[in-house]
Amino acid sequence: METPEKSDYLLLFRGTDWYRDLSPDEIQAKMTTWMAWFNGLVADGRCLGGQSLDAETRVVSGKARNVSDGPFTEAKETVAGYFMLRVSGVDEAVAIAKDCPGLPHGMTVEVRPLMARCHASELADSSPAAVA
């Protein structure tokens, strides 16, 4: 049973070229930090999950349902991945976002509250496994 004051936030990570100016050793160290950060959030129940996104992109648009590759947006604007948070409010979500190890390397983190009630969240609440 969730405590009623918890709400869900999506952290949207933008920027796919954060490692451009780093050496292999530095990349390795940075990834270790990422992993520890994520694992910590999951362990204390504040993060429900998350994933990186691959580069392979299709865009479906318009009445004609056109399918195109791309758009190949600027690397710093491309969504790189997301975390799902369940926290006390926007302040806590923002505080977590501020710990993002990619921030010094040009990444940005968008903090988006999930709408309180929609069909998907009801499904998720009744069956937590559906999220995992």
Binding site: Y19, P24, I27, M35, F38, N39, V42, A43, G81
Partner: protein, 433 residues
């Protein structure tokens, strides 16, 4: 393109796997060489980019899928596919050089190639080509060392800046300009041949020597980074020495001098970072594996009749390494090496070092006369060691006021705290009690 780490809570315990130290750094040089062999030196940036991306992917997926049995092959395969993606996308946007791209796709997609990406010989050739490109004379020496560290050793601009006491922005600019120059001058990705080979090999050895010295010299910079520079210079020189094209006496001499000096690195400072002189060093902490390897390469260097400065420096280092204690150092041989070295170079600093050896053989007065003859030549006129050496000689012949004056002058000129502490200790030792 990729991003932060994954994924589902069930796997939350996964961590970045423990890997061989510097696996990625060392693979990076190999991978960049191979990809440059495929895409050309003017696509060096592409090679570097996809290699980094492959590494990020490895770090994202290995914690979950396990480390592949052959991590190097996995990285190569991934980097190749990423490079192909980029090239295909370029073709889509620019429709340029379709024939070239088709040929590349064939070479990259060859199923035989995916099992064993390249033969070792081929890798060694590509690495040597990249070494020659990075050490190309169209680049300034500073650009050559920076580019070698970036592309061959997997250093970031930030790490290079720490090593060279420069700003990261300056290093980044230097690297960009170097790659531009290689492109504009249409530098070939090849192992030079004929008469050109000899001069170009000299150039390569010079860069590796600079790289090693940058790490070896005690002045400034982070000591960990400097140790890394020495190790990287040794790694690249090992590649050079193992390649039939570069397997020459001078290469082995350079390799020997690096090994014989690196062997004594850990003993050179005490626990608080103060410099220890040879006489004060604990010889049991010298790396005897490196010494043995250095002596082996010194032997390989002793063929033919070409005598290089590397030979003489390695010979001097060998004398120190093989002396069981300071008192039994073979100074006459060391002096003979310095004499020969001075016939090859006009360096006042070498002459100053020779004076130290001379004083060991012929007494402090001979040393003083030798220094007096050269002390007005820059950079010796304002070099702290000139005065430290003179102070030492005067102290040896018990002229304490003269010794004190020289050590004081040396302390004024010394820039590093470790040097200043050392001289302060000397001065305290001379003070009447």
């Amino acid at each position: 393109m990729s991003a932060p780490p994954p994924e589902s809570p069930a796997l939350a315990a996964a961590e970045v796997p423990r890997l061989t130290e510097h696996l990625f750094r060392h693979e990076a040089g190999r991978l960049v060489s191979m990809l440059t062999g495929i895409f050309g030196i003017d696509r060096l940036q592409l090679a570097e980019d996809v290699v980094q991306e492959a590494m990020v992917r490895a770090l994202q997926t290995w914690p979950y899928d396990g480390v592949p049995r052959n991590p190097a092959a996995w990285l190569m395969q991934t980097a190749k596919h990423l490079a192909l993606d980029v090239v295909r996308r370029e073709r889509r946007f620019h429709e340029k050089e379709p024939a070239v791209i088709v040929a590349m796709e064939q070479r990259l997609a060859d199923p035989g190639a995916s099992a064993a990406p390249f033969f070792d010989d081929e890798i060694a050739d590509d690495r040597l080509r990249l070494i020659f490109a990075c050490c190309h004379p169209v680049l300034t020496p500073e650009a050559q060392t920076a580019l070698a560290l970036k592309t061959l050793c997997g250093f970031s601009p930030g790490e290079i800046a720490t090593a060279f006491l420069a700003t990261e922005a300056a290093i980044a600019k230097r690297l960009t300009r170097a790659k531009q120059t290689l492109q504009e001058q249409r530098v070939a990705f090849e192992i030079p041949s004929g008469a050109e080979l000899a001069t170009r090999l000299d150039g390569v050895r010079q860069v590796l020597y600079l790289l090693f010295n940058e790490g070896y010299k005690a002045s400034g910079g982070d000591s960990l980074v400097r140790g890394e520079l020495c190790r990287e210079a040794i790694r690249l020189t090992a590649l050079l020495a193992a390649h039939p094209v570069a397997d020459e006496p001078a290469t082995h001499a350079l390799f020997a001098l690096m090994l014989l000096n690196a062997a004594r690195l850990p003993a050179r400072t005490d626990d608080s970072g103060n410099l220890l002189r040879l006489a004060e060093q604990d010889r049991s902490t010298w790396d005897h594996r490196l010494i043995a390897s250095g002596l082996h390469h010194l032997q390989l260097a002793a063929t033919g009749d070409a005598l290089s400065e590397y030979h003489l420096q390695a010979g001097i280092a060998a004398c120190h390494c093989t002396a069981p204690d300071y008192a039994s150092t073979d100074w006459p041989t060391i002096l003979a090496h310095y004499d020969q070295w001075l016939r090859l170079t006009d360096s006042p600093v070498v002459a100053l070092n020779r004076a130290v050896a001379l004083a060991k053989v012929a007494g402090p007065e001979a040393g003083i006369r030798a220094v007096e003859a050269i002390r007005h030549r820059p950079p010796l006129d304002a070099y702290y060691l000139t005065f430290a050496v003179l102070g030492e000689f005067e102290a040896q012949r018990h002229c304490l006021p003269a010794a004190t004056a020289h050590f004081q002058r040396a302390r004024e000129l010394a820039e590093l705290p470790s040097e200043q502490n050392f001289l302060a200790k000397k001065l305290r030792g001379l003070a009447p009690s």
